[in-house]
Subunit: 173 residues, 2 copies
């Protein structure tokens, strides 16, 4: 089992709340263990915690994280740091190499990130070299690197979807 | 070559502008031909057109689209309609079936979509049955269904990334 966590940088409360929420929920749904947020934002923390409480699993969300400290500790513990950026090496060219690691911190910036990050990251990885979305990039990276991304179970869920061909059905177990 | 387009429903100007922009840019980057927007929003149209002008390719963006008409015409022309929803059938269980089609309209809602849509869609497809992000879902669906999603060329680009291991480099061809 590979252990994934996400570090979200450059989040500005108000402006980035919806996109950062999408980043966090995508991280959870596709199998990351949790998200570190390099800003203070109670709204995000509570919103994601609320999803965890209802939909299960043990995804963690921590705000007010110092990003350099987070990256340095991750590396000291033997993990690798993958920075998601349109300027990086195409995912398909290095994913086999990255898969050799069993602790991966995926760093996801908002519009601007400190230039220093490109040097601190072990891998700067692009999901296409086109401008698009950090949410999309994170989803594709997790789907490629995590064999169980689409088939995870979420224990202790109060709410669960029963997949339907046409319609909506949930089970409140 | 499979032809993909995206139909974005339920977009509310102001509230959804950033997420809808992410949907459009993800559609373009991962190989859709264009996006229909079922609302009027000049800001989205101009923003995405600006990316196309600078980064190349011929992605189209059309707003003020009537969604029922769009879906019906797509079906009449022999295409299939895939509605992305957490209530649907897991992608991995039906992707081989969907790959038999060569014209796929991917319908991406905002938070609430009309119930009618579940009946109109040929396939209701889930990227995990967990709540997360329509941007993430769209990215994973395009990556699974489109063999060239990550390796597309964008002709006539004014701006192009030269991938780097550490750093940022663009070519203004």
């Amino acid at each position: 089992m590979v252990y994934f966590a996400v570090l979200r940088l450059g989040h500005r409360p108000e402006r980035d709340q919806r996109v950062t929420t999408h980043v966090g929920l995508t991280a959870r749904a596709l199998g990351a263990a949790g998200m570190y947020l390099a800003s203070a934002d109670k709204y995000i923390v509570e919103g994601i915690q609320d999803v965890v409480d209802r939909w299960g699993g043990d995804f963690f969300i921590k705000d007010q994280i110092k990003w350099r400290t987070c990256i340095n500790r991750w590396k000291e513990s033997g993990g690798i740091v993958l920075h998601l950026t349109m300027y990086g090496i195409p995912l398909q060219d290095i994913e086999e190499l990255i898969k050799k690691s069993d602790r991966i911190l995926i760093v996801v910036g908002a519009e601007k990130v400190p230039g220093e990050l490109f040097g601190l990251a072990d891998y700067n990885v692009a999901v296409t070299n086109q401008p698009h979305s950090e949410v999309a990039g994170l989803a594709v990276v997790l789907d490629h690197l995590n064999p169980t991304a689409l088939v995870r179970e979420f224990p202790d869920a109060k709410l669960k979807v029963i997949p339907q061909e046409h319609g909506k059905r949930t089970d409140t177990g």
